[in-house]
């Protein structure tokens, strides 16, 4: 049995055909109908949807009868696409033994091809190189196959040449999975160890853990325990994804499936944790578990204070399904009651923001993101600071430490200069570089995380026309020469606009911030001075001039309807402003901090 299981994933640069190939494999094996896609199939399962269950297509089981006449179980495990979820990707890879590396025959190797390949190699996976889209007139099949072979150090003959769309040679992919991917190697007689590589929250069955059984097996009604988290539960239901959830009696060594835990929040059942039996526990958990810690913090406020409770409920609901999201109440002088939220990174933050707005229909205001600082006080104590407002007075501070990250940037060689320029302006330090292909380079940097969260992705993309991609991992705290930059609007410090910056940049950032704010804050009925201060000294100032004219020139009988609409639009626009003291400040102003961030550009 165990010999006949193959666990694999597909890794590819965006749009190289990962989803198309997956659908084709599922169709060929009869898992889904010949003309459907996994997403369609999941969408059609109305019952599941009505109950509000979110099934992710993150693991699908197929049965395949190979040329050798034997039937194999193939488990395709999906990997998330965003850099913020690097840890989740690493856990998904850890659940596999092999990976299909898909490369577009006309585009060739791209940034993410390499990033993902590195991660797969680190997880010790067998790599099956696949050149896709050979049907395209612009396909450079042989050339690209050679590039891929060079990258992997294999013979070009080992590279499969297929068209997922046209269904050409897709059988070869299935055969290669059977032949080349090793079967799972766990011990069926050892105590249970199952890796959780994903999860979702189901209102009826509690958290559904997506698992790969490494040693031992799980049966219905077993009592299990999370080795890191400590929670215990009876298995409510277990089964496999076909691609819908199909109950089974047992999940054996090497198998992939789901376990309904009855637990009330994904926080009790985290990705990367190990499941074992309560009464016959394994001695060691599986390696690699990390408690994903939020790296980026921002405050979220309801635009209308009356929505505070709704916002808290919404965050709570999101958290049920999002183990990395943290939030705690916070009060800002300027913005009132809100929440300080922690995210894995900028993408994660954007996802949360969007869901609050779209799914929960909340009007929210999100402040510029910040990192968590460690402030060493003169008395030797260390204080954690997640918002500039928490920074103690200057004379009590001995040292401020900020988080650093190791950054890998994959880029075509021609953008080398542009990338170097960007990174050095962001206080980055080049450590090392590689050339996986003649015209590609991988740059390894270290830089402060604060520099990375401020508009770095966008800058990198625009400087490399979208060709570069990056990956990063935290590497700990380092001391920095940092100061708090205060912003005063109408002479009042606005805590939500304050930021912590490198002293060397304070003046430049202050100037820019003030001039940005001047453009973003609409003219009010009186002149509004805007100032930036560092270390208690004003370093920049500008005035938002008083509004002088805002009147309809003409208003006649017929006109009144049209003019009224105009005024109504003006009224709606006003609703999106936040009153801070006597001044109306739009959301964009709170993000201005982001855009000036590192100053180099414009």
């Amino acid at each position: 049995m165990q010999d006949h299981i193959r666990n694999f994933c597909i890794i590819a640069h965006i749009d190289h055909g990962k989803s198309t190939l997956a659908d084709r494999l599922l169709q060929l094996t009869g898992t889904i109908p010949p003309d459907a896609s996994v997403e369609q199939v999941l969408d059609d399962m109305d019952l599941e949807r009505e109950r509000g269950v979110t099934i992710k297509a993150s693991a699908v089981r197929m049965e395949y009868t190979a040329k050798d006449g034997q039937t194999y179980i193939l488990n395709l495990i999906d990997t998330p696409g965003h850099v913020d979820f690097g840890y989740e990707v690493s856990r998904a890879l850890a659940a596999c033994e092999g990976a299909l590396l898909v490369v577009d025959a006309s585009q060739g190797i791209e940034a993410q091809t390499i990033a993902h390949l590195y991660a797969a190699l680190e997880a010790d996976l067998e790599i099956i190189p696949v050149v896709n889209k050979i049907d395209l007139p612009s396909a450079r099949t042989e050339e690209v196959a050679q590039e891929v072979a060079d990258l992997l150090g294999v013979d070009p003959d080992e590279v499969l040449r297929i068209s997922a769309k046209e269904g050409i040679n897709v059988e070869q992919v299935l055969e290669a999975i059977v032949e080349r991917v090793p079967p799972p190697s766990g011990d069926p007689d050892a105590p249970l160890r199952a890796l959780i590589f994903d999860s979702h929250y189901d209102p009826y069955k509690g958290v559904i853990a997506y698992v790969r059984v490494v040693d031992g097996s799980i049966r219905h009604r077993d009592t299990l325990k999370l080795m890191a988290g400590g929670a215990e539960f009876d298995v409510v239901e277990l089964g496999v994804f076909t691609p819908g959830m199909k109950p089974a009696q047992e999940l054996r060594t090497g198998e992939v499936g789901y376990v309904a835990t009855g637990l009330k929040s994904v926080h009790q059942c985290r990705v990367g944790d190990t499941l074992t039996h309560k009464h016959q526990p394994a001695s060691e958990p599986l390696p690699g578990y990390r408690h994903p810690k939020p790296m980026v913090f921002a405050s979220i406020y309801p635009v209308d204070p009356e929505d505070y409770e709704d916002l808290r409920d919404a965050l709570g609901k999101l958290q049920l399904n999002d183990a990395a999201l943290t939030f705690e109440p916070e009060h800002s002088q300027a913005l009132g009651a809100g929440f300080r939220c922690g995210f894995l990174g900028m993408f994660h933050m954007e996802i949360v923001q969007e869901r609050l707005e779209r799914e929960y229909d909340l009007d929210i205001l999100v402040t510029a993101p910040s990192v968590e600082y460690q402030v060493v006080l003169k008395d030797g104590t260390v204080k954690r600071v997640r918002t500039p407002a928490e920074l103690p007075p200057r004379d009590r501070i001995a040292e401020i430490r900020e988080p650093w990250v190791a950054v890998q940037i994959y880029t075509p060689l021609e953008y080398y200069g542009a990338v170097m320029d960007l990174v050095t302006k962001r206080r980055g330090v080049l450590k090392d570089q590689e050339h996986p292909a003649p015209d590609r380079v991988v740059l390894h940097f270290e830089m402060p995380l604060a520099e990375l969260i401020v508009d770095f992705f966008d800058q990198l993309k625009s400087r490399t026309r979208g060709y570069a991609s990056l990956d990063y991992q935290p590497i700990g705290y380092r001391p920095g020469d940092l100061v708090k930059l205060d912003v005063l609007v109408n002479k009042e410090p606005v805590d939500a606009l304050a930021m912590i910056v490198a002293r060397e940049n304070a003046y430049r950032v202050g100037q820019k911030l003030v001039s940005k704010l001047k453009d973003l804050i609409p003219r009010q009925l009186f002149t509004v001075p805007i100032q930036a201060a560092a270390d208690g000294k004003i370093i920049a100032r500008a005035n938002v001039k008083a509004l002088r004219k805002d009147v309809l020139a003409k208003c006649y009988g017929g006109d009144v309807t049209r003019k009224k609409k105009l005024l109504e639009r003006q009224k709606r626009g006003k609703k999106r402003l936040k009153m801070v003291g006597k001044v109306e400040i739009p959301q964009e102003a709170f993000w201005a901090v982001l855009r000036v961030g590192e100053s180099d550009e414009d």
Partner: protein
């Protein structure tokens, strides 16, 4: 309807034809449709009949008539004669009725002017707009300043003693002095009435597109504010009374028709895209006619007004009939009434229309706006302050926001 039977009515008649389209204009008007003029005038006379049969209209006298456009002065005299014939047939005109015709200076001839005067037109409103050739060109106007001088002289000779000139300020690239000069020239023509409008870049007009694409410099609102303040000073000194945000008159020549709009009094709208407004117990009614002249003509070609039986007031050209609640009317009344800079919005009038006092209806907004120095409130009249004049939108938005 009895309770709200008005004793007098205004009549707006829309003439949607222009020779060419000006660059800033978003009115309901069309160039190149002049062939439709006879059929259109026919349709207008039929629409007059639809209203004229109504006892409610018959019981009132029409004391103001306004022919607006477009360019009404494009209509040839024989068509005017037909219009006036129908006007007298279907409405009871007050002996002192004010009859205005809008005109573009380059269209005015001695014959037309004499003819109009003879038909009873006693007020002429002329689109002068600017003086400097560069400004006139930017606006896409087809006349020059000497044509205005001639047209004014011709109008005087034809017997018009109530003349308005329209001016526009705050044009892209227009310096303050050029506006000061335009105003000085206009004053030398000694009109009884002046309208000075700040240029508004209307969506979809060529001028707005030019500005958006950077072909023409943007409008400077601060400069426009200075121009407005200058107009306030200069016109006051020249003996004109400022009575509405954009309007000045001397010798009691305020436009009686437009005052009806601002005082929220009833009027009928005839012609393509015209609006009418009146009140019935507890409600306001606003009618809007179909915009396109061809459709307007077609709609009025089919049926005849019913003899005998009384129908709802309106005509087949009506495309929308809006019923306004007292709350709607409160805001509209404020929007309109506050424009009247001297008389303002009388509390008595507000109570009559809305059924509550101003102080009660806008309980929170009024003190706030007064503290901001935007309105004057003496307990009987609500008025914009001098500062409020230029920031009237802020006042209205605040009033709309909640009371």
């Amino acid at each position: 309807m009895g309770a709200h039977q008005p004793s007098s009515l205004g009549l707006y008649v829309h003439i949607p034809f222009c020779r060419v389209r000006c660059s800033y204009c978003d009115f309901n008007t069309y160039a190149g449709l002049e062939d439709l003029m006879p059929a259109y005038v026919d349709a207008l006379t039929r629409e007059m009949a639809w209203y004229g049969v109504h006892p409610w209209v018959q019981a009132a006298v029409v004391d103001t008539v306004y022919f607006g456009g477009g360019t009404p002065s494009l209509l040839p005299l024989p068509l005017w004669e037909r219009l006036f014939d129908a006007l007298h047939r279907h409405f009871r005109l007050a002996p002192e009725v004010e009859i205005t015709v809008e005109a573009n200076p380059e269209t005015l001839t001695p014959d037309l002017l004499r003819g109009l005067r003879g038909l009873g037109v006693n007020r002429l409103s002329m689109g002068m707009q600017a003086v400097h050739p560069q400004d006139l060109r930017l606006l896409g106007r087809s006349h020059d300043f000497p044509t205005v001088i001639r047209a004014v002289a011709l109008a005087r000779r034809a017997g018009f003693d109530n003349l308005n000139l329209d001016l526009i300020f705050g044009l892209p690239g227009q310096p303050l002095v050029r506006w000061q000069e335009a105003l000085a020239w206009a004053l030398r023509l000694a009109p009884e009435h002046l309208s000075c409008y700040a240029l508004t870049l209307e969506h979809g007009t060529p001028l707005q597109v030019w500005v958006r694409r950077g072909r023409v410099p943007p409008v400077d609102d601060d400069l426009a504010a200075d121009m407005y303040l200058w107009a306030l000073e200069a016109l006051e000194q020249a003996g004109y009374r400022h009575y509405e945000i954009s309007n000045w008159a001397r010798g009691g020549h305020a436009c009686r028709h437009n005052l009806k709009y601002w005082r929220y009094e009833p009027y009928l709208g005839l012609g393509a895209g015209a609006h009418g407004f009146w009140r019935i117990p507890g409600q306001g009614v606003r009618l809007a006619n179909v915009l396109a002249p061809r459709v307007y003509i077609a709609r009025l070609g089919r049926q005849r007004p019913p003899a005998g039986e009384v129908q709802e007031l309106g005509s087949p050209a009506v495309v929308s009939r809006q019923y306004l609640t007292p709350d709607d009317m409160a805001l509209e009344l404020a929007l309109m009434g506050l424009r009247l800079t001297r008389e303002g919005l009388p509390d008595g009038r507000f109570r009559e229309v809305v059924g509550r006092s101003l102080a009660d209806f806008f309980a929170d907004a009024l003190p706030e706006l007064r503290d901001l120095g935007l309105v004057d409130w003496d307990g009987r009249h609500l008025r914009l302050t001098r500062r409020g004049l230029l920031l009237a939108n802020r006042v209205w938005v605040r009033l709309m926001e909640g009371r």
